[in-house]
């Protein structure tokens, strides 16, 4: 090589921006021109978008560990007793999936508001509140399922199958509560008009992931318990 100097990538002020200026050469490789911040459309810090994938990966690993434990435990001994799942779980599934749809509706309304400030779009907050309600309904429904199992005499320590049922559903419900916290945060930011696109996107991704994770868990529990 003739020279060791390599110029940094040129800045194109007309370029469609990625998600933020804080990266400034990072993953999104977005560099706002000095003192020309108007040219950059969304200053949302990109780490939030990256971070949510990191979080989802960690949660995936955690449930992968539980899943493998379930398989090994079931195969290691003959004391595994199957039981039928409480039917309310299927209702809960529908509730959680519906909440994903309402969240998407809210996201689209927010996007419409951003696209055209004059548009007469009904407030997205209503849909976020509906999502919040459905999320709470899901957790309440899970609680009812635990009560029903208790009524059938199936406790945490009764059998490995019930142990795994409680461990998986409770861990998932705790994560759903975390997602509800995220929704409350989004609503709070929304009410103060300081919501950022990627905060909303991250919350939505987490929420949809919780829905997908639940469908997976339901299939696992349905096929293995």
């Amino acid at each position: 090589m003739a020279s060791t100097v390599q110029e940094p990538p040129p800045i194109d002020p007309h370029r469609e921006p990625g998600r933020g200026q804080a990266g400034n050469g990072g993953w999104r490789n977005l560099v706002p021109p000095d003192n020309n911040r108007q040219a950059v459309l969304d200053y949302s810090p990109p780490p939030t978008s990256t971070a949510i994938w990191v979080v989802l990966f960690a949660i995936t690993m955690m449930f992968a560990a539980f899943t493998s434990a379930l398989f090994v435990r079931k195969g290691s001994s003959l004391d595994w007793q199957s039981f039928t799942l409480p039917p309310i779980l299927y209702f809960n599934t529908l509730v959680l999936l519906a909440s994903s749809i309402t969240l998407e509706v809210a996201r689209r309304r927010i996007a419409a508001l951003r696209g055209d400030l004059n548009s007469q779009v009904n407030g997205p907050a209503v849909w976020l509140y509906i999502t919040l309600f459905l999320g709470l309904l899901f957790v309440a429904g899970q609680y009812v399922a635990w009560l029903q199992l208790r009524g059938r005499g199936l406790y945490l320590a009764t059998n490995p199958s019930s142990s795994f049922f409680y461990v998986l559903t409770v861990t998932h419900a705790l994560h759903v509560l975390g997602g509800l916290g995220g929704l409350v945060y989004v609503l709070h930011k929304l009410s103060k008009s300081i919501l950022r696109q990627n905060q909303l996107d991250a919350t939505a991704r987490y929420w949809h992931f919780m829905g997908g994770l639940w469908v997976y868990l339901l299939l696992l529990l349905w096929s293995k318990l």
């Binding site: 933020g20 804080a22 400030l117 779009v121």
Partner: protein
């Protein structure tokens, strides 16, 4: 709209219900103002003024890095004292250690420790060292301090998570140490906490009740702390790089921390659920890990059908990557220091990065080699043996790159570079015994002997410690603003280097002679004739341990009375040396550096000498070009 990255406004001016255009404009302005502020004050927070926010609950990654370092130092002292106690007991079984009875009346009546208490101390030594020293110091401490600076960021993207990461880790340490003083002491199950002993409760022996629960809570907390840390490390590396800092222009340390955080993310997320399952076995009466019809101390256990191997699988899926979590930052630090001392580039920086990545990926495929004699299917032993041998290839390539890069260089000898060389030596000496252990047929004989103890102490323990020492001598000027004493540093190096070989080489001979690990004493059996070797090791350990006090003195004395350090004492090129010493609150004094060069431009002719900083726009010719 709603697509990522196609917003029209700065933030999202959103109203809950329908609003007028005038109001929209108002919000638009407000949000723009807020954004300009956040753009200039870049990472979310301003310098704190109160003592509590500045030094205790600080959001500043540099303070958090120092806190991690202090925690690691404290933990290392605890772990070292524990090892002294154990060594004295191994050499002179009936010798009373004055004052030990104060720590535990039942565990050490009259100062002579019981076999159970020996195991309790051993467990705590291992746990403290692996988790709170080898994971926190090279990764969390140095990484927190230097990763954001090396990528040119003002802070980590999530400073509150970062603060939480440290304080959760600190809490984990407090919980772990509290087990010394609660009930019948800490758990005696070893740092691997094998089932079923970890799940049967107090009937398993001293500390197997409350001690195990505290251990599990502590480690689960530790996992949370490291997951939060990994989150910050990954996002910092990917998103906060400064203009011109492409991935391949990251220094090797930054790469090492990034790869380590990816490993940590995967490993700690698996250990935590495993800990939760053990806690449930204890407090809720479940049977995840305890088999049926298990009789312990003449008592039939109430559990049924659990899988003891399941714990080993879950634990080692974390446990093997954990040893790479301890050593990969060391590899990065040592490469960084070696290049600076050699004044020339490594043979191939790119290959070094790929090798670290390969170590990370392979580390998940080899964990079964800890379980060759566990009763696992012998065919799976073969399946785990193969990648174990394969993983030596990237490790060997790393060492060869180091050694052949050293050839013909103008090596600058100082404490940091000596410890970096010592790291190579330890890594090779400890790594070679790994070849033996990787073969199931040989491992059947060596498993559970001092051979294994010698192997992992050298390759993971001492090597990583040498990495920590090298990093400390190298970065102390930047962290504390003062130079460390070089003479004391060199004395510390030679005593540590010779001392650790005196301690850990004989371990291999002991192991080949059949000396079983974890036994507290061997007065009445075939291992009796090996006691003199243990006595020799004990003396070596006491002297080597005492030599660490030189380091401690050097550290504390230099912190307050050392010679003030210039901005770039080692004539190094990476970004941490282009800022003031110690770095200002926002790392670069209100400016964003711009990167023009690859990280290690040594052996060139520039206006400052034989190197050019990454941030220097100067055009330089390499010596190679001139020829």
């Amino acid at each position: 709209m709603g697509q990522e990255g196609t917003g029209t406004t700065v933030a999202l001016p959103i109203r809950v219900l329908r609003v007028s255009i005038a109001e929209w404009e108002h919000f638009f302005e407000v949000s723009i103002k807020m954004h300009d502020m956040s753009a200039h004050a870049a990472q979310h927070h301003a310098p704190p003024t109160s003592f509590l926010r500045k030094h205790v609950f600080s959001l500043d990654h540099k303070v958090i890095g120092k806190q991690y370092y202090a925690l690691a130092l404290l933990a290392a002292l605890c772990g070292m004292v524990l090892s002294w106690l154990m060594r004295i007991h191994l050499g002179w079984t009936n010798a009373a250690i004055p004052g030990l009875q104060l720590l535990s009346k039942t565990g050490a009546p009259g100062g002579v420790m019981t076999p159970e208490y020996y195991l309790q101390l051993m467990t705590m030594h291992g746990t403290i060292m692996v988790f709170f020293v080898l994971t926190t110091a090279p990764f969390a401490a140095f990484g927190n301090f230097f990763l954001p600076i090396q990528v040119g960021a003002e802070d980590m993207p999530f400073p509150r998570f970062n603060m939480m990461s440290f304080w959760v880790t600190f809490l984990a340490f407090v919980v772990l140490m509290s087990s010394f003083f609660i009930g019948d002491g800490p758990t005696l199950g070893g740092w691997t906490q094998y089932a079923p002993l970890n799940s049967v409760g107090a009937v398993g022996g001293p500390g197997e009740g409350m001690g195990v629960i505290l251990w599990m809570i502590s480690i689960a907390l530790f996992c949370i702390g490291q997951l939060l840390g990994s989150l910050n490390f990954i996002t910092t590396t990917l998103d906060l790089r400064v203009k011109g800092m492409s991935l391949m222009r990251l220094p090797l340390t930054a790469w090492a921390w990034f790869i380590t955080s990816c490993m940590g993310l995967t490993a700690f997320a698996v250990l935590m659920p495993a800990c939760i399952l053990v806690i449930l076995d204890h407090v809720a009466g479940t049977s995840f890990f305890v088999a049926s019809n298990l009789v312990i101390n003449d008592q039939l256990q109430p559990h049924s059908g659990g899988s003891t191997l399941l714990w080993q699988h879950l634990f080692w899926f974390f446990g093997h990557p954990e040893v790479y979590i301890a050593i990969v930052p060391g590899i990065g630090i040592v490469s960084h220091i070696l290049i600076t001392s050699m004044r020339k580039q490594m043979l191939s920086q790119r290959v070094l990065i790929y090798c670290m990545g390969a170590l990370a990926v392979l580390s998940y495929m080899v964990y079964g080699h800890h379980m060759f004699v566990s009763g696992m299917n012998p065919f799976s032993a073969l399946a785990f043996s193969f990648p174990t041998l394969v993983i030596t290839i990237p490790a060997t390539i790393v060492v060869l790159i180091w050694v052949f890069s050293l050839y013909g260089s103008n090596f600058r000898i100082n404490s940091a570079s000596l410890f970096a060389l010592g790291f190579i030596s330890m890594f090779v000496s400890g790594g070679v015994s790994g070849f033996f252990l990787a073969q199931p047929s040989i491992d059947i004989m060596l498993h559970g002997t001092y051979f294994v103890v010698g192997h992992f102490h050298m390759v993971m323990g001492v090597a990583a410690m040498f990495g920590i020492f090298a990093g400390t001598y190298f970065w102390f000027p930047k962290m504390a603003g003062r130079m460390m004493n070089e003479t004391l540093g060199k004395i510390h190096f030679w005593l540590s280097f010779v001392g650790t070989y005196c301690i850990f080489m004989p371990f291999h001979y002991l192991g080949m002679a059949g000396n079983i690990r974890r036994y507290s004493s061997f007065p009445d059996d075939y291992m009796q004739s090996l006691i003199p070797v243990h006595q020799y090791i004990t003396v070596a350990a006491l002297i080597t341990g005492a030599a660490q006090l030189i380091f401690l003195y050097n550290l504390i004395h230099s912190r307050f009375w050392g010679k003030p350090a210039p901005d770039n004492p080692w004539e190094a090129t990476s970004l941490e040396w282009s800022t003031a010493t110690p770095p200002p609150f926002d790392n670069f004094g209100g400016k964003h550096p711009v990167v023009y060069h690859d990280p290690y431009q040594y052996g060139v002719r520039s206006s400052v000498g034989d190197y050019v900083m990454q941030t220097s726009p100067e055009q330089v010719q390499t010596e190679h070009d001139e020829k």
